[in-house]
Amino acid sequence: MTAPGAGTPSREVLLEARGLRVGRPSSRRSPALPLVRGVDLRLRRGEVLGLAGESGAGKTLTALALLGLCPPGLEVAGSVRLLDRELVGLPVRDLARLRGRHIAMVFQDALAAFTPVQRIGDQIGEALRIHQRPRPGRESARRAAAELLDAVGVPEPGRVAGAYPHQLSGGTRQRAMIAMAMANRPDVIVADEPTSALDVTVQAQVLQALVTARRETGAALLLISHDLGVLAGAADRVAVMYGGRIVEYGGTRELFARPRMPYTAGLIGSVPRLDRDTPPTPMPGAPPVAGTPDTGCAFAPRCPLAEPECRTRVPELVGDQERSAGGEGQAGGGEPHLVACRRGEEAVRIGAATLFPPSVPRRAAGVRGVVEPVLRIRGLAKSFPASGGSGRWRRGGREVWALEGVDLEVGRGETLGLVGESGCGKSTTLLEVIALRAPRHGTIEVLGQDTGTLSRAAERRLRGALQIVFQDPMASLDPRMTVGDIVAEPLLVQRAPAERVAARVSEVLRLVGLSPDDAAALPHRYSGGQRQRIAIARALAVEPRLLLLDEPVSALDVSVRAGILDLLRRLKEDPGPSCLFVSHDLAMVRQIADRVAVMYAGRVVETGTVDEVFGRPCHPYTKALLDAVPVPDPAVARSRSSMVLRGDPPSGGDDGRGCRFRPRCPVFESLEPGQRSRCEREFPGAVQAPVDLGRSVVCHFPLT
């Protein structure tokens, strides 16, 4: 993104935070709640500083404190200097004059961050009208807004400027947010998780928009993300936060290559890799709840290297200049590598895979040969009534097809990964299976039984063989039932005898890494990761033949994900259930699945074994999807040729003929007009790809 050596210290410092603290002061009712506990940051012109960390680390509050936007009731101490002006303690009127003009912010959730009742163009224009003198008129501000939207790569900027936030896709909204932030050519742009909750293809578009914004304005960019892959590709330097402090800081290459804090090492290792077969490293425990009083290193309870002294004294963030300067001398050269760890030297020697060993070192070889399928889906189609607006103002009659014809098979003992962007029909497919009803179109066979012809008794028996784990463990567990009752329920439904229920509950709780003593507790006591373990225990209680997993880790923190993934991999070791694993995270699927099916607009467009599909994708969509996945390795991330896919994922309702991927397809774009008409007129049938047997590609012009 920037030329090597961009981070030389000679550049002008635009923003400097020293000893920044944010917290709720102690009151009669509650003790003090320290949230950010002394953060030093320095941003130079034209530089990208990445701020990494998990939930509760204090990233967002740090960002808000830089703009003086912390929620009421929180106290900010320390110093923030913007262009040599102290911001902490500045009257709100003076702060307002700086905000938007010298320092701007891109918020995480653009739908909530835009005012719902005003047009996008007016909201962007307002940023200009507040600061530009002479003040531009409404009309010219709106025109300028359209130009800004165009600059960040929004298609049809005029139409978007006239639209309300809810009418736009998530990616367009986020780019509009970036356009608004760059409107007054600020010196510093703070972007707080600008790409979380976006599809990978859209994430690439938004990151590109940020790059454009930074280049056009020459601003320094503080990029906050929990996704190390994003930071590896975009940041010049990275600061890692944990428990309200910066625990490691350094040039991106150096930090990713030689993390010196066990937490950083574990965090980098816990990101599933798309480009390698090494399993993610599971860290025990969960990040501390924000505001937990600490006496020592916040990571000590999870750290395998922790000594008694780590628990009693907070380690200081200290430098290690020589090592990094003598390192690659490239990006981040001359940057100090700082770490707050007593045992950093050992951490770098031992490495993440040894610090946090995965329980299953290598992925088991996939089931090969002909196996009987436990799930077979043929031509499954499903539509929903299209509602315009809500309630009484709805338009009637139209239908949106969520599934247009899905063919899938899950063999005995295998895990099939079902991937695709949001809205492609992954979850709908899963819900159609779990319904155990006759679908409106097509057939579903579970364990050889057609779901359309089940008797009530057969359906109940089949339910015992088919279990599901949902995405959000906060919502999928009844808060008023004890863990034991939750796990026992499927057994009771299957009319298991009481003594068997009790024994099995203890057994599965131990299996998922909890203790049988946990059975008496209520779910609210547990963290997200632990709750997902409970949900998995519930699903496993009846020893199902087929386990459906709907994005089982995407609601969890990065370091916790690896633990759940590790559990799922372990379950596959002893002949466990066959799994249908739905995920938008391709790297995750690569680490867990034997075969993969890629969905687009309600159809499966490519299937094959993980090695085949990830190694040599044949469908242009698969290729684009894989290209868009960020890799947590700066060297790889910057050398990859990645093609940014245009447009948004389709939202259904396209009744036209031909290939659904055509409008975004890079191959289609390069075709002769004569060849194009095939893509336009006929929907491609499944092609046995020339590369391998047992894999199919739904494309007229597959990549070879």
């Binding site: 808000l64 703009l67 936007l69 709100v92 009127r93 307002a96 004059r97 700086l98 905000r99 938007g100 003009r101 701007a104 912010m105 918020f107 959730d109 909530a112 961050a113 835009f114 005012t115 719902p116 009742v117 005003q118 307002e126 940023a127 507040i130 600061h131 309300y164 809810h166 009418q167 608004m180 509602s387 315009g388 607006g389 809500s390 009484r392 103002w393 709805r394 338009r395």
Partner: protein
């Protein structure tokens, strides 16, 4: 869409009219009104009178309803027990009620919104606590007590100034002669107290709603975005928060405003105005079926109209409802 909606409304209105007629005819006894006269008129005369009014119990109620609705469709709502035209009386009474309540309701609503926003911004501080205390006092004191208190206050003012600055009964001074200016001043003097009591109630009620809605908006992320753009907190709230905070209140305002025309019983009784509220009370006492049915149907129509207004207002404020 809108036409389907209006058709639904018509159906609802017809149904409720029928039910109103049925209920009123069953519950009210117009015969008693005549029989209690001194001297009591002969039974035959009463029968004839009731038959003229379409209230003869010997005719089946469905048939009576048929006659009534046929005439009502042609604009004739029948006659009251005293023989005056219901339609004429209706028009007069609605006018009185509107004059009595309009100013108070409008200013009360507007002030309530302002006060609610103010209290939310100053949450937990003196203005908020003061307003909360005032609101709950006004809301918990029965309206007629409030009316009497205000009247006592007015008497004190008049005594202190030595002349009748504030009038507390009736709509105008009977037999007052003079030009338009004198008439206007007289009307204003009569309006002060009822307007004040209506406005106080509205401020007390709506400031609570608006305070809650504003507090929700103050925590909204788009207000933070507005500040990040360089707006001061106050301007951010005014430009980006006020409209969104009004959205959940549209139905409250629409129903409060439209149903105002059904009258305010206590206010009218206390200040001696002969509007819809007191008419309804009097008609029920007399057993005047025709008048009661007319008022009830009017009320039902107003509720439907308020619903429509609420939705239109909601759509006007919130583009998310307008476009899919």
């Amino acid at each position: 869409m809108l036409s389907k909606r209006l058709a639904n409304y018509c159906l609802l209105l017809i149904t409720s009219t029928f039910l109103c007629y049925l209920l009123s005819s069953a519950a009210l006894d117009p015969r008693a009104y005549y029989e209690e006269r001194t001297p009591p008129p002969p039974g035959r005369v009463v029968d004839q009178r009731l038959a003229e009014l379409g209230l003869d119990r010997r005719t089946p109620v469905v048939e009576r309803f048929g006659h009534w609705s046929w005439r009502a469709l042609h604009g004739d709502l029948g006659r009251t027990l005293d023989g005056t035209s219901v339609s004429a009386e209706f028009g007069r009474r609605v006018g009185v009620t509107a004059r009595l309540l309009l100013v108070g309701t409008v200013t009360g609503t507007a002030l309530g919104v302002v006060a609610g926003v103010w209290a939310a911004v100053r949450r937990g501080r003196l203005p908020d606590r003061g307003l909360t205390l005032l609101s709950f006092t006004v809301l918990s004191v029965p309206p007629f007590v409030l009316g009497l208190l205000l009247q006592t206050g007015a008497i004190a003012v008049n005594d202190a100034s030595g002349r009748s600055v504030i009038r507390y009964t009736g709509e105008r001074t009977p037999g007052l002669h003079g030009g338009a200016l004198i008439q206007l001043r007289d009307t204003a003097a009569h309006l002060v107290l009822p307007t004040l009591s209506v406005a106080l109630g509205a401020v007390a009620l709506y400031s609570r709603y608006q305070r809650g809605a504003t507090l929700d908006v103050l925590a909204a992320e788009h207000l933070r975005t507005a500040q990040a753009k360089g707006l001061t907190p106050g301007r951010a709230l005014l430009r980006h928060g006020l409209r969104t905070s009004l959205i959940p209140l549209t139905s409250v305002f629409a129903f409060g405003f439209v149903t105002m025309f059904t009258g305010a019983v206590f206010t009218e009784k206390i200040y001696g105005w002969h509007g819809m509220g007191s008419w309804f009370l009097d008609s029920v006492q007399k057993g005047d079926v025709n008048a009661v049915v007319a008022i009830e149907v009017f009320g039902a129509a107003l509720v439907l109209l308020a619903g429509l207004c609420a939705d239109l207002l909601h759509a006007a404020l919130d583009p998310r409802v307008r476009f899919a």
